[in-house]
């Protein structure tokens, strides 16, 4: 019977508010002595589930993402190269180290911190079973982004963004459609050098965003901006690899924790 309770718990894992409702109605329908045993097993399961969900939030770097990249890796992937001074966006000035012969150089010390935070957030979202959407409108890297999403079991959107994709989803798709819990922009501009519509729409729908912002992008609406180069193939490959490893690491950790919980509850 504990196994049955366990499957019900895993099914409603994505909606933690439903768990308490299910168990409260269970408590009302059963009135025999067996109900006491079931409710304690249920209580233990909810406690274990809560512990699995909440314990990683107490650690600063639970998934040890700082070992995924070093300053030298970022440098060799040409992440510090920005556009020319004339293309600079005013709001990117705090993230720039300086300008050398009209070429903006992005400060990699700040980039490393921002990247660490963004990867940590992505890992936590993936750990809790969230849907991640990778977006890029750069035609040069469309295939790369799509293969990245495929390899980590998440979603990608590298084609034309229809107007009401997020804001009009219940009508354009179906009434019960689930929107992504995190949107990762590998390039925040579209092909006419305007800000991608998805950034504004995600902000409207309360969806957090992670975005690689180059020196000509606007970082203001993005939740976790990562200042860095988004034009060189080496840099894009590095970002894709990092996000893929993060998501895979988080999902593997979740599977591991679920297995441990299954072993400990059956014992």
């Amino acid at each position: 019977m504990a196994a049955g309770v366990l499957t019900r718990v895993t099914q409603v894992l994505r909606g933690p508010r439903l768990v308490s409702a299910v168990f409260s109605c269970h408590g009302q329908t059963f009135s025999s002595a067996a109900a006491a045993v079931k409710s304690t097993a249920a209580a233990r399961d909810t406690a274990a589930t809560e512990k699995i969900q909440n314990f990683p939030l107490t650690q600063p770097d639970y998934f040890r993402l700082s070992e995924l990249f070093t300053m030298k890796d970022l440098f060799e992937a040409r992440v510090h190269l920005g556009h020319k001074k004339g293309c600079r966006h005013r709001l990117m000035e705090p993230y720039l180290f300086g300008s050398r012969l009209d070429v903006d150089i992005i400060d990699l010390e700040q980039t490393a911190e921002h990247l660490q935070r963004a990867l940590n957030f992505t890992a936590h979202v993936a750990y809790r079973g969230g849907i991640i959407l990778f977006v890029s409108r750069r035609r040069q890297f469309g295939h790369l982004v799509e293969t990245t999403a495929k390899e980590c079991g998440e979603y990608a959107h590298t084609r034309y963004w229809k107007g009401g994709l997020l804001t009009n989803a219940p009508i354009q798709y179906s009434p019960g459609v689930r929107l992504p819990d995190l949107i990762v922009f590998f390039s925040t501009l579209n092909n006419v050098f305007q800000q991608h519509v998805g950034i504004r729409d995600a902000a409207k729908m309360n969806i957090p965003t992670v975005g690689i912002v180059d020196s000509n992008c606007n970082p203001s609406l993005i939740t976790y901006p990562v200042p860095g180069n988004d034009d060189t193939p080496v840099a894009m490959e590095m970002y894709c690899r990092l996000f893929k490893m993060t998501v895979n690491r988080a999902k593997d950790k979740r599977r591991q924790m679920e297995l441990l919980k299954g072993i400990s509850s059956s014992v």
Binding site: M71, K72, R78, G86, L101, L108, N216
Partner: protein, 182 residues
């Protein structure tokens, strides 16, 4: 050490030499007490002239070595500023008329897309001489004109960028030649 320094500053400049000797004599006594006690000279005897200068310089050299060792280990070879300073792009200077080596990474009919290590690639026409030798992965010599083709047009707030660099193709790097030399 701080108290010894304070003593030195309080003394008037005319008589500064004598207290210095006493300071370094006491320092030497401290060091000799820590080291082996095989020193013949008694710690009370004040050294002068060459002996004092020798002591002074040996102490300075010892302290200099120690601080240099600390400095080398604390200086971060992989910090962003040191990496940037020693990078080829910084050492190169202005990109105009610099010769670089690039690699062809994509070909579309007669257009060669060449990556030379900058932010953008450059696109060059396949030359008439040795045209078929330029394949994906061949290394070529380029003369750079500009790292990024940008221009501010009338009525625009920011520059318009072509997302490309500008370079002239000079020729292939002859790999067979280098093999023959070896």
């Amino acid at each position: 050490m701080a108290s010894l320094c304070k003593v030195m500053f309080n003394v008037s400049p005319r008589t500064s030499l004598l207290p210095k000797h006493s300071v370094f004599a006491t320092l030497r006594s401290l060091y000799s007490s820590d080291a082996s006690g095989g020193d013949d000279k008694s710690p009370e005897r004040v050294k002068s002239g060459f002996a004092a200068a020798y002591d002074l310089h040996s102490d300075l050299r010892q302290s200099g070595d120690r601080s240099a060792a600390v400095r080398v280990s604390s200086r971060d070879e992989t910090s962003f500023t040191s990496l940037l300073r020693h990078s080829a792009l910084m050492q190169m200077g202005p990109a105009k008329d610099k010769i670089v080596i690039g690699k062809v990474f994509h070909i579309v009919n007669d257009d060669l897309y060449i990556d030379f290590g900058g932010k953008f690639h450059c696109v060059c026409k396949r030359p008439s001489t040795d045209g078929q030798k330029y394949q994906r992965g061949s290394r070529v010599r380029l003369r750079l004109e500009d790292l990024e083709l940008t221009s501010r047009f009338l009525g625009a707030t920011t520059d318009t960028t072509l997302l490309e660099a500008d370079a002239t193709l000079l020729g292939l790097i002859e790999s067979k030649e280098t093999k023959a030399k070896e």
